[in-house]
């Protein structure tokens, strides 16, 4: 496959000032093909057993991440570690509701993460708005804006529920079905249109790589 066929058109990046446009990425994300056979199984096993989560407490759910990280529930024995920067993490845990201001940072952090990347959504607020269903500032379905792999219900989900959710995520990864990143690249225009409808002051590149 030649490179020219796969390369998408450059993005307009209208949110940036004209003098800054050369500094930022203007290529849309692209899909990645899985490797063949036992290589992919091996890679999936490696990805599933070292899930590094991004240290971004986006909402209420962050308060149950503390017990998860410490000695009582200890996620580290499952290979899950918290990392401070998106460049080093592979799982983004959306801890509950997302206000519009946070959504902009969620999109930015998600796009800056290195692939393969997965999203775990906690709580009922990510599913249908939860108890802020009539609020002017919280979104009701996080999967309209970024792709989600696993939903964990609850308000708050207990740390045991979080561990069960991570087990589910590992199963999905090992079976080769964790395609959130490719879904995002395939439907990039749709996701971007949804994001821009809600985030009114878009002053970052269209794809934050």
């Amino acid at each position: 496959m030649s490179d020219k066929k796969l390369k998408p058109a450059p993005l307009p990046n209208e949110g940036l000032l004209p003098e800054e446009r050369g500094l930022f990425c203007d290529a849309a994300p692209r899909e990645y093909e899985a490797a063949k056979g036992w290589v992919e199984n091996f890679l999936n096993w490696a990805r599933a057993e070292s899930l590094w989560i991004l240290g971004f407490g986006t909402g209420c759910g962050a308060v149950e991440l503390r017990p998860l990280m410490t000695s009582r529930f200890d996620m580290y024995r499952f290979g899950i570690q918290a990392r401070p920067t998106p460049r080093q993490s592979s799982v983004f845990v959306i801890g509950g509701y997302a206000s519009v201001k946070t959504l902009k940072r969620i999109v930015r952090s998600y796009e800056q993460m290195m692939g393969p990347k997965f999203v775990v959504a906690l709580g009922s607020c990510t599913i249908n708005g939860g108890m802020y269903w009539d609020s002017y500032n919280t979104i009701k379905r996080i999967d309209q804006y970024i792709p989600v792999d696993v939903y964990i219900t609850g308000c708050m989900p207990r740390p045991e529920a979080l561990l069960a959710g991570f087990q589910e995520l590992k199963k999905i990864i090992k079976s080769g079905n964790a395609e959130g990143q490719n879904l995002y690249a395939r439907n990039f225009e749709w996701y971007k249109a949804n994001q821009k409808k809600v985030i009114k002051d878009w002053n970052m590149p269209d794809y934050n790589w």
């Binding site: 519009v100 249908n128 708005g129 269903w133 002017y136 009701k140 379905r141 309209q144 009114k200 002051d201």
Partner: protein, 177 residues
């Protein structure tokens, strides 16, 4: 406390002193007097602590009611000072030189109600919302549910059951409601 009520009435035309509890009272002044009243209460009467300041939208009588809550630690008494300002041109004196946290409250009032406090530092900066272009959202004529349904999509499949209608359907389907 009645000496304080008489003193405020004599100095600033305060009225309607109301004792809510033995450590909480409220009083009304005219908006033009609000800065002097608060400054006097802070400097001379010992009400040194500003708990908070907020506004209530009394849309029926076309006014915003301001509420400044002060506390006197020596006597252990809190006083809420009210004043009514016009809802169509909401402007009130700024108290940012009296207390160091007042400018944040006034910035919030500008964003949430549209109340302007001239001279308050950084009052036009965005506080909690980004890129908001609708009505100030704490006003009672802003419909939060309508805005949410128009802007954010619902997940399909949600059913709402009104309990009264459901029970009627289940138990007495033939009876009138």
């Amino acid at each position: 406390m009645n000496e304080l009520a008489t003193e405020l009435a004599a100095r600033y035309g305060a009225r309607d002193w109301h004792d809510q509890r033995k450590d909480l009272a409220s009083i009304w002044v005219d908006p033009i007097r609000i800065h002097d009243t608060l400054a006097w209460l802070k400097d001379q009467a010992g009400y040194v602590h500003l708990s908070f300041l907020t506004a209530i939208d009394n849309i029926e009588r076309k006014a915003f009611t301001m509420a400044y809550t002060l506390r006197n630690h020596e006597r252990g008494h809190s006083l809420i000072v009210h004043c009514d300002i016009d809802r169509d041109h909401p402007v009130v004196d700024s108290i940012h030189l009296l207390w160091g946290q007042a400018w944040t409250y006034q910035r919030e009032l500008k964003e949430w109600f549209g109340i302007d406090c001239p001279g308050s530092p950084r009052k036009d900066e965005e506080f909690v919302l980004e890129g908001w272009d609708d009505l100030p959202m704490m006003r009672r004529d802003f419909d939060s549910l309508a805005y949410s349904q128009a802007t954010y999509e619902d997940r399909p499949g949600r059913e709402t059951a009104d309990p009264a209608a459901h029970m009627k359907q289940k138990l007495y389907p033939e009876a009138p409601l």
